[in-house]
Symmetry: C3
Subunit: 134 residues, 3 copies
């Protein structure tokens, strides 16, 4: 039985939140987790994963807008690749989330969706989905 | 043996950190986890969970004060419900924490307490506590 | 078989990110995790753990510089120990990370390293490493 799957994501903008909830749910079915945890892990250092409201796309837009205000584009950065703001945002958002699985069902709140956070795109990205059964 | 419990929380202010450590410890006993992990998960998108100092209530007051300064109340928000700051704070704090259990004991640091973070209250809230045994 | 190990860290500055990746890898071998999760947990309330780029030391320098700009040193703080900025940063970064283990190998992205984040040093610190096998 597989324990680990990969989800491929093609981001289309410099900064973008991509709803990956349906892909994670598909992974949960493929991993055949009845009860336990799913870990959704981003192996990139200029991307992240977060859970927030998915019904109104204005919510992710507002989160991105505030992140862009909090973390300055122009600053005394030393990292020469020019993507330091993306690294800061990645650590602030976090590289992984965990979702409870119970009775074969991903336990998300009513309004919760899982987002891949692109902070240095557009790029080809991936997240890993790991099953822990309980 | 139960794997998942729910903790009910009634918040009393717009922004508030509620110490839920004792309730989580009670859940750990009810879940009979000897060794493993407890996942404390917030299913709301304008609330969060964090771990920080609980001895001096000024610490949570100071964290809230800085969060309110970092995330502007007035901004070019598009989400029409008017609670975008709460959504931003939820993603910055994170929707879940994990605590190690060893020898029937929740492994918290000396000063650590587990807080439910209310960013759009007062409301009736809940968090889920999931046991992973090792 | 051990389930939990402790890593000792001596920080050398007020604010500093210490790369603990090699120590975590050694713990993974000692814990003999073939497949599962490693939880890296900081029991301190003025420290944290994060995962970010480790190849160029300018990245951690830039993250620290922005954190110091976001969280003011001088503010209407009430906590009398004078380290409220460290408490805020600890909650923003998060007190733990989880890393997937597969085929005896820690699944980190190409550029990812695990950092202990000191926000109120220099001090003697420790993190706990817990194994969840799958």
């Amino acid at each position: 039985m597989a324990e680990l799957l990969e989800i491929d994501i093609a981001t289309g903008a410099q900064t973008e939140f991509v709803d990956i909830t349906d892909k994670v749910k598909l992974s949960a079915r493929q991993l055949e987790v009845k009860s336990g945890l799913l870990i959704i892990y981003c192996p990139h250092t200029t991307g992240a994963v977060t859970i927030n409201e998915g019904a109104d796309p204005a919510v992710k837009r507002d989160i991105i807008a505030v992140m862009n205000q909090i973390v300055p584009w122009h600053f005394d950065y030393r990292h020469l690749e020019g993507n330091s703001p993306a690294h800061v945002k990645a650590s602030l958002m976090g590289e992984s989330v965990q979702v409870i699985v119970e009775d074969d069902r991903l336990m998300l709140g009513t309004w919760q969706k899982i987002f891949f956070c692109e902070f240095d795109g557009p790029r080809k990205r991936r997240v890993w989905v790991k099953a822990i059964r309980s």
